[in-house]
């Protein structure tokens, strides 16, 4: 192959690595992303100069069509809708790898190449349909609950067996297209089957995992078309997704297989006896407590995203600070529907990132907090994770808001969290419930200050 092209790939790989390195700090992250983009541009230009290319028409059409769609999506997407968009993009990446793997089939292909072709079709295919289902669940176009049915495991096992058999036969008999179609079809089916039993609140894990797969699919496609840069870039993405998956699982104190196969949240969970009573509070009374507070912690959850309350939260934060209080945010790793979801929303509302504290940083400070405001979070602040051994989330690390002097919980109604787990926090002596739409409740507080 052309030496110049190969050399350009080396430089592109270095730029990807540098870019990811700069993503290690919010101060340099934007530059890092630009460096990575330059690496991509270089790789694409190098690929276009390849002597094997004799016709540019279809390449150009593909670029323009894809580029326009991508640019429009990037510009128009709301920050609250980022999880859906990332899910969808994962899927496109997977499908692209499937197509490349498929197109790489040639009579000259050896066994090693055939195996990598099958892998890129398999991983690409399940990433594609799995991501579409995840997209459907996240955007609420499909029900976000876990779908379980009788014999699900048997069906899934049969699909896996079918894929393995089809893959082996394809490698043995590549000229017979039946095997190819079998693998393509079953991979697509498997992606659907793998994601439907996973509930909406476990989506951070699923997106991370699909992110990883989209990288691994690119990697496999790289083997199939004998291209270094695909392997390097693909495995960087693969590693990134796997690390995020691990972090998410750890933050829920569950194993990956438990997340993927247990259908968590689909069954009824028996609730432990909870003592105490619910004590509602009015916006006015909440204001008096907040006015006297010198240390406030805000714990956002998915509900803040749903209510689009991030901007009004920022307003409240400014008023509290003007009133002399210290205000910090406590962000649980699985708050929201994807890793880092809350941070992006708050950044959009212009909250400086040094106010966003991780769980391990905010917990030791909790005893000094006068008021902890929980906005649309439930399971991530559930003290049952520490106290109730029979609770399904027992052992999950949570933000210990109950250790603050006063806790305000902003909630629409008394319905339990996604997992149907009773939350003893609501019944604690120092907890006050502020019922209603989060955006309106906070707006009410802001008006009281004004």
């Amino acid at each position: 192959m052309d030496n110049l092209t190969q050399f350009a790939y080396v430089v592109a790989a270095a730029l990807f690595i540098l870019g990811l390195k700069q993503l290690g700090s919010p101060a340099t992250a934007r530059r890092g992303n630009t460096i990575s983009a330059v690496g991509m541009l270089l790789a694409i230009v190098a690929a276009l100069l390849d002597q094997g290319i004799v016709e540019y028409q279809w390449i150009a059409i593909g670029f323009v069509a894809g580029g326009l769609v991508g640019a429009a999506a990037a510009r128009l997407v709301k920050m609250t809708a980022m999880p859906e968009m990332v899910a969808l993009f994962n899927g496109f990446g997977g499908m692209a790898s499937l197509l490349v793997g498929w197109a790489a089939i040639s009579p000259a292909a050896g066994t090693f190449t055939l195996v990598t072709i099958v892998l890129s079709i398999l991983i690409g295919g399940l990433t594609f349909t799995g991501s579409l289902v995840a997209y459907g669940k996240l955007s609420e176009k499909l029900g976000s609950g876990a779908v379980m049915f009788q014999g699900q495991q048997v069906v899934n096992s049969l699909i896996v067996l079918g894929i393995v058999a089809g893959a082996v036969m394809f490698c043995v008999e590549p000229a017979n297209h039946l095997w190819l179609y079998l693998v393509v079809g079953l991979s697509l089916l498997f992606g659907i089957m793998a994601v439907i039993p996973i509930g909406g609140a476990d989506m951070p894990v699923v997106i991370s995992l699909l992110n990883s797969y989209s990288g691994l699919a690119a990697c496999a496609a790289g083997f199939a078309v004998d291209n270094n840069i695909l392997i390097v870039a693909g495995s960087l993405v693969g590693a990134s997704g796997i690390i995020l998956t691990q972090i998410m699982c750890k933050a829920m104190n569950r194993s990956l297989s438990n997340v993927l196969f247990s259908g968590f949240g689909s069954g009824k969970v028996e609730s432990a006896e909870v003592e105490g009573e619910i004590k509602p509070i009015s916006v006015e009374d909440a204001f008096y407590v907040l006015e006297a507070a010198t240390n406030v912690a805000i714990i956002p959850g998915y509900g803040m995203a749903v209510a689009q309350a991030q901007h009004v939260v920022k307003e409240l934060m400014e008023l509290l600070e003007r009133n002399g209080a210290e205000v910090n945010f406590g962000i649980h790793p699985v708050a929201g529907r994807m890793p880092g979801h809350m941070n992006v929303l708050l950044a959009e509302a212009d909250v400086a990132y040094d106010h966003l504290l991780e769980m391990d940083d905010i917990n030791p400070r909790m005893a000094n907090v006068d008021v902890a405001i929980v906005i649309g979070a439930n399971d991530v602040v559930n003290p049952a994770a520490r106290e109730v051994e029979s609770s399904p989330i027992y052992g999950m690390p949570v933000i210990n808001v109950d250790q603050a002097r006063t806790v305000f919980v902003l909630k629409r109604s008394m319905a339990s969290g996604f997992a149907g787990i009773e939350n003893p926090l609501f019944y604690k002596d120092n907890t006050r419930m502020l019922f209603g739409d989060a955006k309106e409740s906070i707006g009410g507080l802001v008006r009281e200050f004004g």
Binding site: K21, A71, A74, A96, F112, P339
Partner: protein, 96 residues
């Protein structure tokens, strides 16, 4: 001369370890941009796709390649742009 399979696997192994080292250093506040940025990088498939889409033989492989170029371009363009849009919003406290 090392066989191509071994050579490529070698690269794979090194990149995976490198990836783990790099990503572990990304703070949790940047995990969403990390993901969308990784998404953009996974659009690298476009590099493999262009050589298939430009063979000039209007066979199945050519069409599959063209489709892959389009899909991967969505990832590349959309991924980098949306990541940049997000990262532009991350600001440090004023005066600090």
């Amino acid at each position: 001369m090392i066989p191509a399979e071994v050579f490529l696997t070698f690269i794979l192994m090194l990149s995976i370890f490198l990836g783990f080292e790099l990503i572990h250093k990304v703070p949790s506040t940047l995990h969403t941009p990390l993901m969308s940025g990784a998404n953009a990088i996974s659009g690298i498939t476009v590099v493999g796709a262009v050589s298939l889409a430009g063979t000039g033989q209007h066979d199945l492989a050519n069409w599959l390649g063209a489709g892959a170029v389009a899909l991967a371009s969505i990832n590349v363009v959309g991924g980098y742009l949306v990541t940049d849009r997000m990262l532009a919003m991350f600001k440090k406290k004023k005066g600090a």
